[in-house]
């Protein structure tokens, strides 16, 4: 159990930390957009960077926040049918459908990785006046997919543990 427990702890921690950090990206977007509005209306000189800056931050923001949302199990699903199963059976069902979550995330990592690799080796820049590096955003896609995949795996471990023992993962930690 030890390595599994360590895995869950590290992955859950990473999802939450990444999610909280990217949460502040929106503060940066607020600041950059404010600068843009002010310089356009009061100084009549729109910036060349604010739009793209916001664009890339927002892209990375929602991609990388997928894992924390999965950790809190806030990705909505239709739970009407399963809601009258016992909690243990629901956990088992969650574990069984893991393969579909893993498939989707896996393809994002694999194909997104190829896509990002081409960009990283050239240290690609955007084709714009400002021309910021574009490879970090392209890398965010496979990284987000990987974080989601790991978080789904962590949830799988917790679900299986509950389905088998009837004790939640949190209860296990108290006893250990």
């Amino acid at each position: 159990m030890k390595p599994l427990a360590l895995f869950v702890k590290v992955v859950d921690g990473a999802s939450v930390v990444v999610g909280k950090i990217v949460g502040y990206f929106m503060v940066l977007v607020m600041i950059s957009s404010t600068i843009e509005i002010v310089s356009r209306y009061f100084f009549n000189s729109p910036t060349i960077w604010a739009y793209e800056f916001g664009q890339y931050l927002f892209g990375a923001y929602f991609l990388l926040a997928g894992a924390i949302t999965l950790y809190y199990r806030e990705h909505v699903g239709m739970d009407v049918v399963v809601s009258h199963l016992s909690p243990r059976k629901q956990a088992l069902l969650n574990a069984l459908t893991y393969v579909f979550a893993a498939l989707f995330c896996g393809v994002l990592v694999y194909k997104g990785g190829q896509f990002a690799y081409k960009s990283v080796i050239h240290l690609e820049r955007a084709a714009s006046v400002w021309a910021p590096p574009i490879w970090p955003l392209k890398t965010a896609l496979p990284v987000a997919g990987l974080l989601m995949l790991l978080q789904a795996t962590s949830n799988l471990i917790k679900d299986l543990y509950f389905a088998v023992t009837g004790k939640t993962w949190a209860e296990r930690e108290v006893n250990a």
């Binding site: 909280k20 929602f62 997928g66 806030e74 459908t97 896609l141």
Partner: protein, 437 residues
């Protein structure tokens, strides 16, 4: 395999997976990938990349988290309580008055937030206990709150309009404007229904006893609560409607305005900002990952030639343009029982829109119809999000079955509203045309 068989198979697998409770994003994404693999082999998987990358570059949608953040800050600064307090004083003396007041407060909250859950939860916590204490019928009370909460989708700012603007390449500002009058129309229909119903059956929604009613002075003082929310609403709307800023910039102004309003109320704390940011992140990721999975699925499904098939099916029905339009609305309604608005939008609109245009209908108006329709999706079981939000905050003794019964008169009213906007497109189109052209 022909297209019809593939479609049936795809949606069959999708429904089956949805029933397991697997998150919608994973269902849609994995079904798309499985079919792409079996139909085209490993090369087909590359089709997920370009739509995903395109989505991550859509700055328009950055307005989604910013409007959510604005709504959360306003909500946490206690504006909902003050608004309800004001309505309680003004309308409490009427039969059904508190329910009417709840609808109005919901409409005002709808103009501050772009989603449906905010007003439902806030009013469920504030207005529901007050109404139940005054012996309001639990059906009328909960139904009102859920229907009122759904106005959040229609009255701008509105997340589904933003997403529709992206998918259908329409002006988000004009879409926002097109939701205003239908929103007010629905609001009035609810109020008329409540007043008529409580006049006929006074025991459903009794008036406050005279000694508990507010004096005129108290009523006037309570209006102070309206100043700040209206200031924020008008600054955002002015920026959008007068074309001063882009939608995304307007959402930034709204978010900053909300923080100013909260500061004036002496409610703004770092903890509140931190919690709102985290909540915003999670809600946005939930919406955007469904969008992400759906654009992947959409590009695969369209790549299979779905657009032509859907077109042939609809145009082959021999129903005429209006028949097709009504069928589309019915399909939204049925899908709305099982899926959420973002998923339905990405799955159907790219396929429907070319048909709508070919039949000579206005795509802007089609967007308004879609969003009115989605309000029903939020109320119709088994998968109606407002039912879940409501269930989360009702006192013990109110069951899910009670909630199912509570919503149907309102769903009927929404259907009437939808029909009215279909018959009189000017209800939706007059305002955007007056302002933008």
């Amino acid at each position: 395999m022909d297209m019809a068989t593939i479609t049936l198979l795809m949606f069959g697998v999708m429904v089956l997976l949805l029933c397991t409770g697997l998150p919608v994003a994973f269902v849609i994404g994995s079904v798309g990938i499985i079919f792409a693999y079996f139909l085209w082999g490993p090369g087909g998987l590359s089709m997920v990349i370009y739509p995903t990358y395109g989505l991550s570059l859509t700055f328009l949608l950055a307005a989604v988290p910013l409007f959510i953040f604005m709504g959360l800050i306003l909500q946490k600064s206690g504006i909902a309580d003050d608004l309800f307090e004001a309505m309680y004083k003004w309308a409490g003396g009427l039969r059904g008055g508190m329910a009417v007041g709840t609808v109005i407060v919901c409409a005002i909250i709808a103009a501050m937030v772009g989603i449906s859950g905010a007003a439902t939860v806030a009013m469920g916590l504030i207005a529901l206990p007050a109404m139940l204490k005054r012996n309001y019928s639990k059906y009328l009370a909960t139904g009102t709150i859920q229907a009122g909460g759904a106005l959040g989708l229609l009255i701008p700012p509105s997340i589904p309009f933003l997403v529709y603007a992206f998918v259908a390449q329409q002006s988000a500002g004009m879409l926002f404007a097109s939701g205003v009058l239908p929103g007010l129309l629905l609001c009035s229909l609810y109020i008329v229904y409540i007043l008529v119903r409580s006049a006929l059956q006074p025991e459903l929604a009794p008036a406050l006893p005279p000694e508990e009613r507010a004096t005129l002075r108290e009523k006037m003082l309570s209006l102070k609560a309206l100043v700040l929310p209206f200031a924020v609403i008008f600054s955002v709307m002015a920026c959008v409607v007068l074309g001063i800023t882009t939608i995304t910039e307007a959402s930034v102004i709204g978010a900053l305005g909300a923080m100013v309003a909260a500061t004036v109320q002496r409610k703004l704390t770092f903890r509140m900002i931190r919690e709102s940011l985290e909540r915003t992140t999670i809600v946005t990721a939930m919406v955007m990952w469904i969008a992400l999975a759906a654009v992947c699925f959409g590009s695969i499904y369209t790549g299979l030639g779905a657009a032509k098939m859907v077109k042939d099916v609809f145009l082959g029905l021999g129903l005429g343009p209006w028949g097709v339009l009504i069928c589309m609305q019915l399909s939204f309604f049925v899908l709305g029982m099982f899926l959420d608005d973002t998923a339905i939008l990405f799955l159907t609109v790219p396929l429907y829109l070319p048909i709508v245009k070919q039949l000579g209908f206005d795509p802007l108006w089609f967007g308004t119809l879609f969003v009115i329709n989605m309000q029903m999706a939020f109320l119709t079981p088994p998968y109606g999000l407002n039912l879940f939000y409501m269930k989360g905050v009702v006192p013990r003794g109110i069951t899910m079955t009670d909630l199912y019964w509570s919503v149907w008169p309102f769903v009927l009213i929404q259907a009437v509203g939808l029909a009215l906007v279909m018959i009189f497109p000017q209800i939706a189109l007059w305002l955007p045309n007056a302002v933008f052209r």
